[in-house]
Every structure is written in C-alpha cells, then in structure tokens.
Symmetry: C2
Subunit: 196 residues, 2 copies
C-alpha cells in the first residue's frame, strides 16, 4: 500500500481541514470533538496531532483562508476601471459564488470566528473591519458620482453582506430555487435597490 496522500497534491492536513469544515458546519466548532473528526478522517484522535498542532489551528486555517480570498478579490476589483455599481455587482456575485462553492469554509468563517484564540481573533476582526470600511468607501464614492441614490454607506454594506451570508439557510433548505436564480434575484434586489 502506498502512502495515503490520498489524491494528488492534497496533504493529509488538507484532508483533516476539509473534513473538519463539514463537521464544524454541522455541529459547530465547540460541539465538534476531535474524536468525531478523527472518525471521519479514518484515524484515531491522537493521530491527528501528527499533522496539526491543535483544534483551533484548524479554525485559524479556515478563517484566514476565507478572509484572504475576499481581500484579494477586493484588491483586484478596486484596481479596475469600471463604474462603482459594476464593481459592487462583481463583489456581490463573488460573495454569492463563494457561498456556493466554498460554503463550509465561508460559513465557518462567518459564524465560528469567536472561538479563535488571541491574537488571531483581533487580527481577524481587524481584517474584517478594514474590508467593510473599504466597501463603505466604495459605496460613498458611488453616491458622490451620482451613480447611486443616497443611502448611509455603512447600512448598505451591512445589508448586502448580511443578505449574502443568509444563503446558508438556502443551503440547508430543500432548494426549491436554483443557484443561478438565487444569485440573479439577489443581485437584482441588492443592486437595483441602489441604482438612482
């Protein structure tokens, strides 16, 4: 038998993190035990510690990977020459697609970050605050330039981001609405609601 590097270039640590994300999603970080996780990985609990340092390291990996993805995308969008509204739509669609494609990771980052130990917790919250501030400034610029009707930028950003994060309950539902319809309808609601 060969090494269980299971598939191609994914290390066992990656496998652990991926299985953990499913588990954290179902039970929450606090209620998911390492023995639970080990069973899903196909190994005893103690053996996990050959690949990770602690339970919270898994949470850190998930939270900061997601935060990084969003920050990188924002950077890319910001340095493009589109209109503010177009930028916002791209950002919203990216958030929605992340919610589709990386559901577990995004959900955990959204809902379990409290369990991060310091100093990671403060770090995470800083990144989050900066991200939202950047979005708020983007909205404010759109209003100045007359592309959008006046609205408190902070409230607009809060509304957009919260609406998107609510897609988690679509995931848990019987999905009578297709992903494409969900994306397009939500974008219409959130973007058209800003247009002048």
């Amino acid at each position: 038998m060969a090494k269980i590097r299971s598939k191609k270039n994914s290390s066992k640590k990656d496998v652990i993190i991926e299985k953990a994300s499913r588990l954290f999603l179902e039970k929450g970080f606090g209620a998911a035990s390492m023995r639970d996780l080990a069973e899903h990985v196909g190994v005893e609990a103690a053996s996990l510690y050959n690949h990770i340092q602690s339970k919270s390291e898994i949470l850190q990996a998930i939270c900061f990977k997601v935060a990084n993805d969003f920050l990188s995308h924002l950077d890319a969008v910001q340095s493009s020459p589109e209109s503010v509204l177009k930028k916002l739509e791209r950002i919203i669609r990216f958030h929605i697609r992340m919610m589709m494609d990386q559901y577990e990771f995004v959900y955990i980052s959204d809902h379990e970050w409290r369990h991060l130990p310091e100093p990671y917790l403060s770090n995470f919250l800083n990144q989050r605050r900066n991200y939202r501030r950047s979005l708020s400034e983007l909205v404010a610029r759109g209003i100045e330039k007359g592309e959008m009707k006046p609205i408190e930028p902070y409230v607009a950003v809060l509304t957009m981001l919260s609406a998107i994060s609510g897609i988690e309950s679509w995931h848990r539902s019987r999905k009578t609405v297709s992903p494409e319809s969900l994306e397009n309808n939500m974008v219409k609601y959130l973007i058209d609601g800003l247009k002048k």
Copy 2:
C-alpha cells in the same frame, strides 16, 4: 397577600434567563457553562436547578419566546387591510426593532437554535419554515397585484430576513450610525428595492 417574588414582578427564573442570554450571546450556548452563569446570577451552580430544569430549558424558553413574538405580530399584520408593501414595511420594522430592543434573545434564537434538543428542534424549525412561507406568499401576492416588481419571493424574503439579522454586527461595532438611521436606511433599501 400574593407571594412576594424578588424585586418587581420578575421571578428568579426570569433573572436566570436574562443573565443567560447575555452569556450565551458573548460565549455561545456551548461554551457558556452553568458555573459561569451561576456566578453572574450570584449563586452556586447547583442552586440554579431549584429554578430551572436544565441548561437547554433556558435555550428553549428564549427561542420559543422570540418565535412566538414574531408569529403573533405576523398574525396581527396579516389581518389588516393595508397594501402588501405597507404590511412588509411594518414587518421589517418590527424585525429591526426586535433586533434593537431584544437583541440578546433574537440573536440567540437566530444562532443557537441548533443546540435545541428534540423534539423542540423540529418544532422550532417547523415554525420558522411556516413563518417564511407566509412571508413568501405575501410577497407573491404583492407581485400579482402589481405593487412590486417581479422577483423570486423566496429570495426576497431570505434577503430581507438575513439583512436584518446582520444588525447583530452593528451591535458589536462602535455604532457610528444611530439606531434610527439604521432602521430608516435599511427599510429604504429593502422596501424601495421591491417597489415597481
């Protein structure tokens, strides 16, 4: 004379539930211990059990109180003769005000319901599903009557409710925006985005 309950007309059980709500909010249901709670109440952990039956009974009380408040309000609104848009606005404003006035309770009901034991869990989810279905039907009727532009009702409802529940992160922030401004801007965003 009637039994003199501690100060005012709130029983000790109510005090426990209120303190618990603050604790569950800060640490999450799972991470909040009965010893923690007891300390906040000013008593030993064992003494709590003279007033409550279990930790999860507290969670049940909170979740079903909130669910009941929303259901009652919906009933009241539904049997009024206003336009659909006006009904929706009233519902949204009620949700926002609940998020302001009963923040801890609403947040816990929103985020910690997974920890409900059966059969309460199924019960809670049923009520939730029915509530959202009623809202969806309301939106659908508004579209039929030409009050609103066409949109997938389920998505509209999901967007509204999720946006509102995101007010929790306003609560945790430095509150550079006043509650009134938050309410009016969010209502404008969510309601004007539906108008034809």
